[in-house]
Symmetry: C2
Subunit: 469 residues, 2 copies
Amino acid sequence: VAEFKGISPAQFFYKNKQLAGFQNRVRALYQTIRELVENALDATDTHMILPTIKVDITPDGEDGVFRITVEDNGIGIPPEHIPNAFGRVLYSSKYVLRQTRGTFGLGVKMAVLYAQSETGSPVEVYSTPIGRKRVFHYKIKIDIEKNVPIILEEGSYPSGDARWHGTRVSIRLTGDWGRAKNKIYEYFKRTAIIVPYSEIVFSDPEGNIFYFERATTKLPRPPRVTKPHPHGADIELINDMIKNTKARTIKDFLIKEFQSIGEVTARKILELAGIKPSTPPKSLKTHQIERLVRAFRSFKGIRPPRGDHLSPIGEDIIKIGLKAILKPEYVDAVTRRPAVHEGHAFIVEAGIAYGGAIKSSDTPLLLRYANKIPLLYDETADVSYKVLWKISTSKDRLDWSQYEVSFPAPIAVLVHICSTKIPYKGVGKESIADVPEIEREIEAALRHLLRGLKRYLLKKKKEMEESSR
Amino acid sequence: VAEFKGISPAQFFYKNKQLAGFQNRVRALYQTIRELVENALDATDTHMILPTIKVDITPDGEDGVFRITVEDNGIGIPPEHIPNAFGRVLYSSKYVLRQTRGTFGLGVKMAVLYAQSETGSPVEVYSTPIGRKRVFHYKIKIDIEKNVPIILEEGSYPSGDARWHGTRVSIRLTGDWGRAKNKIYEYFKRTAIIVPYSEIVFSDPEGNIFYFERATTKLPRPPRVTKPHPHGADIELINDMIKNTKARTIKDFLIKEFQSIGEVTARKILELAGIKPSTPPKSLKTHQIERLVRAFRSFKGIRPPRGDHLSPIGEDIIKIGLKAILKPEYVDAVTRRPAVHEGHAFIVEAGIAYGGAIKSSDTPLLLRYANKIPLLYDETADVSYKVLWKISTSKDRLDWSQYEVSFPAPIAVLVHICSTKIPYKGVGKESIADVPEIEREIEAALRHLLRGLKRYLLKKKKEMEESSR
Ligand SMILES: Nc1ncnc2c1ncn2[C@@H]1O[C@H](COP(=O)(O)OP(=O)(O)OP(=O)(O)O)[C@@H](O)[C@H]1O
Ligand SMILES: Nc1ncnc2c1ncn2[C@@H]1O[C@H](COP(=O)(O)OP(=O)(O)OP(=O)(O)O)[C@@H](O)[C@H]1O
Ligand SMILES: [Mg+2]
Ligand SMILES: [Mg+2]
């Protein structure tokens, strides 16, 4: 007799923690740092705050047990939402259509689940939301069966500094520092490259303190919430939008709730779908919504989504970051125009750094980023690696020597993809699927930068030849 | 002001369907076939039933819309569980510690979610559980916001044949048959290789009918439910086990609820953990359970898990499958002894097929399987590919020519990993993480088979030299 049961999302992700990057004590330590730092950065640069982030990893009690603390000067978390934000899997402030690092509503909860299953310790949260004058603090565990927070302690006290705001999160877990440290050091370096406007202080369990100073006060333009585009729509998305709309007619619904649909386009789409423009949206039947989705897909006159809600880093900031951390002799960057994939706009940016303090190596150093998050694992499964490999090794493709580069060479290549929907291959956010539109954009960006590098190398070669006469 | 909210697992997987292999109309068609066929096989061979499976893909209405129907002679589904089995994400009969293809409680629901969002159609289910004399039928959609089934139709009628039992599932969705067909054909061939005891009839949208006949009536031994092993335990697993145990003392709890713990081992572990053997399990505090987990990990005297609950395919059946589908001149297979990873036993099996009808190619054809499921995508991210590549290309490794093989060559390599916990890299089950213990087992199995192939090729070379004198 088969045993049927349902489980909660907390049970699901606890049982399958390897899907989220928590498969062992090496990866769990790394992933916890990532999840906390990425939440801290989302709470700052997304809101035009210059980030100041303090990270501590300290041995705590038994061998192999560490306390990880991350503190930021971000927007803080309203106290009524703190228990669910840390204690309920699939709870988030980022379930809106805006480019942020966080997207799943899972990250910090994975760290809490892991810590609680390894040391039994709750997460400790201190937070002062902008404009509030108190520090709110909580000790939280997760009731895995019910997927609800267990509040072990809560309270508040007056904040010492009326202008301070931010969050401090502290987690106690088992980790393998020895095996994880190189990846963690690399994570901080790559974070400093992509957010050179951030000040980061990292103190490790061996007593070392790493200070990444703020290399610029320039911030990228902030991301904005945008509306869905018809090409990203299906029946269930429309059902959900209809539930929440105040529009009284289907024509107004299309114009108001979607991007890229004006009066003329709305009428044409409705005509194609055989639906009267005055129809109340909430009265539509499923087969009518199906015809609407078909009309979206077959009607050729819908403008592609714009990209101005996105938040690219920008060529200046990319160059500042590469210079500050890699100290190359030559650096360049390019931000491509917005492109589209399944109704979501995306922007590819790339950077190249050559020579100087960069070590020579048989292959270029590939620095991958998605929505300003550094991706360090699963390189060979990633779309950027595929493009770089194709440029480097395909018989029918141009090769590096065509750009005056012969390996071993001191060269680093940065690729950043930003979008309201990143096609991550897994919830652990380590690699990006090889979507053809994204592949094309990365290749175009890299070739543009390689042409610039070639001009530089040719000029340098010429100068050396002249000076040696 | 940040917009906080929680979402259901149905909303989560609907929004992130690319994580589960439903990223576009090519992959969705392929993945739907997989999920339905894998459920059908779980309902048969796991229960010592020779599988007979019928698969139809038929154009249905508009261009690009298909109806997929899969019918099996399996154990069926009790009617009271059908709505949740098809309409509630994270609902399953396979959340027990036993080797099955299904593990997540998500597969068929992803197909239902995709179909409903693309065509608005419900899934249609017909089922007669073993021993019942009626056919129970349902039309079900998923309430995505609440993650509960919506039953559009239900009923039952007397089954025509008192001995018939099984299930028929029918789904209507949009798909790109042209781009998906080669992968789907390959999926059926690779399924026929691994379950040659199964009869499969597949009729495609072009009117072709593919009949994979039952090549043997030998079935692998069925998998059995097993108990957790202490090395796979953490605080939350033990909490959960304590909730459900009838054991009155912690000593009896350890002996009864875990595998590999007898009287002596139980006493020694409890001594190490500083817990009295007579302590009632439900009275233990978190810090005591933490000491128990430490004792599990530090005590050296715990036998590794046995593997006899696992269900390897077996060398005979692997060879039958390879012969029936690839028609090689030479075939061999090996089933390794059980090994262990994080408290879960696993068995690696491998097969090799050479010559005959196999086409020569620059690289060996790699056939990957996990718990009898063929894995066709993400090959380069998979542990088997990594091992094969390492054997083939590392400078310090033996290469293929050492085994008398020079490329191009007509060679196929099969790797099957079975376990109560497969370290899949994603919920779409396409590749397996490179866990060192698994890597070692695959390499040992392949080298064993390559030595056998070498003997065959040397013998063949000698015979040809002698006959040419
Ligand atoms: N340091 C922080 N400052 C402000 N808000 C935070 C901070 N850390 C967490 N939060 C809040 O808690 C929520 C849950 O965080 P969590 O990491 O689980 O999910 P997420 O960041 O939304 O998505 P993802 O799973 O992709 O990380 C966030 O959406 C955010 O609102
Ligand atoms: N053809 C079938 N015969 C018998 N039971 C079935 C069949 N199809 C589905 N089921 C039942 O429905 C449940 C849910 O199926 P679903 O594919 O969603 O999850 P699963 O197979 O348990 O896990 P996974 O997500 O890994 O596939 C199964 O556990 C099984 O009990
Ligand atoms: Mg997060
Ligand atoms: Mg399944």
